[in-house]
Symmetry: C2
Subunit: 308 residues, 2 copies
Amino acid sequence: MDPIRIAIVGIGKIARDQHVPAIRGNSAFSLAATVSPHDAGLDGVPHHASLDDLLAQGPAVDAIALCTPPQVRYDLATQALTKGVHLFLEKPPGATLAEVEALKVQADKVGVSLFAAWHSRFAAGVAPARAWLAERKIEKVSIVWREDVRVWHPGQAWIWQPGGLGVFDPGINALSIVTHILPRPFFLKDATLVLPENRAAPIAADLSFRDTAGAAIHMDLDWRQTGPQSWDIVVDTDAGALKLAHGGAVLTLPSGTEHGEDVEYAGLYARFATLIRGGRSDVDTSPLRLVADAFLRGTRQTTQAFHD
Amino acid sequence: MDPIRIAIVGIGKIARDQHVPAIRGNSAFSLAATVSPHDAGLDGVPHHASLDDLLAQGPAVDAIALCTPPQVRYDLATQALTKGVHLFLEKPPGATLAEVEALKVQADKVGVSLFAAWHSRFAAGVAPARAWLAERKIEKVSIVWREDVRVWHPGQAWIWQPGGLGVFDPGINALSIVTHILPRPFFLKDATLVLPENRAAPIAADLSFRDTAGAAIHMDLDWRQTGPQSWDIVVDTDAGALKLAHGGAVLTLPSGTEHGEDVEYAGLYARFATLIRGGRSDVDTSPLRLVADAFLRGTRQTTQAFHD
């Protein structure tokens, strides 16, 4: 079978660190081109300044991975869909829920695969955690996602702008795991969002959710963590506690701890190839919906200014 | 056929002004009870202080209309669903999108009808507007929804609290019409929300949407309008302009103007009876999704304090 010729649009940090190695490590794909107005691209790979240029003059592509900030995602996505190209959307899949719904309709109409990629769902501990929890009674869930924004998002202005999600940019990774591993849907009961006085997006948030059987789910998000970072989920059940640490990579069950390798983007691209070969899409907006609910329903507090 | 025995939960202004007359005017229903902790109910109708009381001791009911503020809607809704009771949700159907999704799942499981009621969709001009627009090319849409909050929401503290939506409480009525009459989905491009410095919800908003064919949709929401009120939607098309005025009641087409009677709540209850008799649900969350997107994506401005 011929490899799927894929172009990466938006060749920033996440594309270089994750997408390029994952594509090069999967024989189902060949990296056909890169697109960015700001950047020189990669040695030996055709580069275009815009998606327009690529689609008009560039090498033929079967698929596109969109790695731009979410605020400009929709227009690029429709351009690609119009050309009948399969589409991989980095998380979050858009700046709004309605635009992602509109993309679903368009992808179905054109008959291409649309993939809303949630990389944390492919962390090593997530699939076994989901399997183990399927049989359990959930008593309580605690999510602690605390990191140093200066380390992980240095100088990323878009992330602080409306639509950039602020601390929910990493927080949505936790929500993508928890929506995937818990056996029941859950929804927001209460939220406090903490915004620096000079920024439009939260630097911290405290959220209380509840699942449909009444289990409490608490989430603590903070971008002001220095020293050790925390990306931990603890689920208390009738059969003991499950802990996912290091963003889902390390799973601890009552029976012991499993340390997995980092397989997130390899898993995403394997899934994308399966979707394309099978003529299917996978667009789960539930993590973004929970974030939108937090902005809709949450109380806001202002805190001191943040400077990079 | 026996009438559907229905109870109203939350017997405030909207229940007295609209639900009671609509139920009494429809022979498919009989008003079996009212529920409110704050209020004495109606002459000659059994009254309970809580839904718990009604379900435990009250007269048997087949259906419930939930007219409480959205922040307390979910718990009451699940109580009712657990008892196998059909459910009518006043707009907005919940304080968050995820809780409405959870209610859908529960209603399907229990096998009862769930109806997310959007009363403005039943305004006299809306159905003919939808039919007329189905054939047209949409060029531009303008929504102007300006009213005096002191007249329409006197002393309603909940409407200014997180989850109460502020000026989107009336604005969502416009969105419920526009999502219904336009032939294509649309999504937010940009929004400014204006919040009084002493309130948690917006008093005004300016929103730009676009439909999937590129037509611009502009929305102007303001709660500070004194004098004549505006609830108008103008759709420019290749066959001339359509105007819905007075919240959807008055339709003007290039061929002339039609003044309809107020049939909104009569229409809602006719629809609810049809859903129950047919064993179906109708839960369209697209208006609330657009509002959540506005809170997620919008820029906030602070304005002078608002006092009732």
